[in-house]
Amino acid sequence: MYKAKNYKDYDDSTLIKLSQKGDEKAFEEILNRYSNRIINLATRIMGSVDDGWDVAQEVFVSIWKNIKSFDSSKNLYPWIRKITVNACYEELRKRGKGLESSLDDVEEGEPSIDLPDVKYSPEDNYSKIELNEVIEKALETLPEHYRITLWLRAVENLTYEEIAETLNINIGTVKSRINMARKLMRDKLKYYLEVKDESS
């Protein structure tokens, strides 16, 4: 009997089942669907595109190796995302940075860490694209536990509960990290946001 083999038409659950049987094409479709998001996520946590790319590759290789243990009735992407976060933290731990601060509960108030200023010379009129560049730069200067929490909220669109589950922290910590991250971002970007308000 003729069987359509367009992997794009398959849902995640079917792709997992096929991958579990060793179907490489099915796994390739999983890569097509999620690799960009995962490289982005890993890049944000690791703080560099090269490191993000490498960790994301290792993540997919380990997913292929462990695909049989995955319950195909569950959602695939949150699983991949969680593996990615863990892999990044593991890599950062190996390099001896980041993890202690990421596991600490964040106190409300001023951060104890000195944050570098954004090195941009603002002009009187600047476009939204330029503002976005400054925002990205500011995001990079945030401590990684603030950066990742804010990223999961803004880009991955996760609820506080989902972030808590992904990062293995409680909801209160998620909330305080997001508040603190936004406070820091606003302080760093104060000048640019004021100019923006005046020019708009």
């Binding site: 490489e24 796994f27 390739e28 890569l31 097509n32 690799s35 960009n36 490289i39 982005n40 890049t43 595109v49 790319w53 994301a56 590759q57 997919f60 290789v61 292929w64 190796k65 503002l131 976005n132 400054v134 925002i135 990205e136 995001l139 804010l150 990223w151 909220r153 803004a154 880009v155 609820t159 506080y160 909330k175 997001i178 508040n179 936004r182 406070k183 971002m185 606003r186 970007l189 946001l193 923006k196 308000d197």
Partner: protein, 136 residues
């Protein structure tokens, strides 16, 4: 209502508050320029973060991952296959160009020989390209 706290405005953006509180803050923000400014700043930051999403070369990424997950024997086989193909292509190109040069050389030689024969009554020894010129 007093100004809502920064934390409340932050949670308001994320809709992580009870409905009644969201409504209360919304009504306040509509009337209060100070809180509206905070909200606008946070929304701009949110947009900027969303925009910092990068489009990667996922085709290359996928190829590299697939290469890594393939069993080593298959990879070795693929490597050998690649080597053999490259070798075949090189020898084809080399062989063809050698043939062209040889044919051209031969063609020129034949033309030259005919010219000499017609002019000087020459006997050719043939293929080897060795020619004998007889005395007139």
């Amino acid at each position: 209502m007093n100004h809502p706290s920064f934390e409340d405005i932050s949670s308001f953006i994320d809709k992580e508050l009870p409905d009644w509180k969201i409504k209360e803050i919304e009504e306040h923000i509509n009337m209060c320029p100070t809180c509206k400014e905070i909200l606008n700043d946070l929304l701009l930051i949110e947009q900027g973060i969303k925009a910092s999403h990068i489009e990667f070369d996922t085709q290359t990424f996928t190829m590299e991952v697939l290469e890594k997950i393939r069993p080593k024997t298959e990879r070795r086989y693929n490597f050998r296959l690649k080597l053999a193909t490259i070798g075949l292509v090189i020898s084809l190109i080399f062989g063809t160009s050698l043939g062209i040069v040889r044919n051209r050389y031969r063609g020129n030689l034949d033309k030259g020989k005919q010219l000499l024969i017609s002019q000087h009554n020459i006997i050719s020894s043939g293929d080897m390209g060795v020619i004998f010129i007889s005395d007139r």
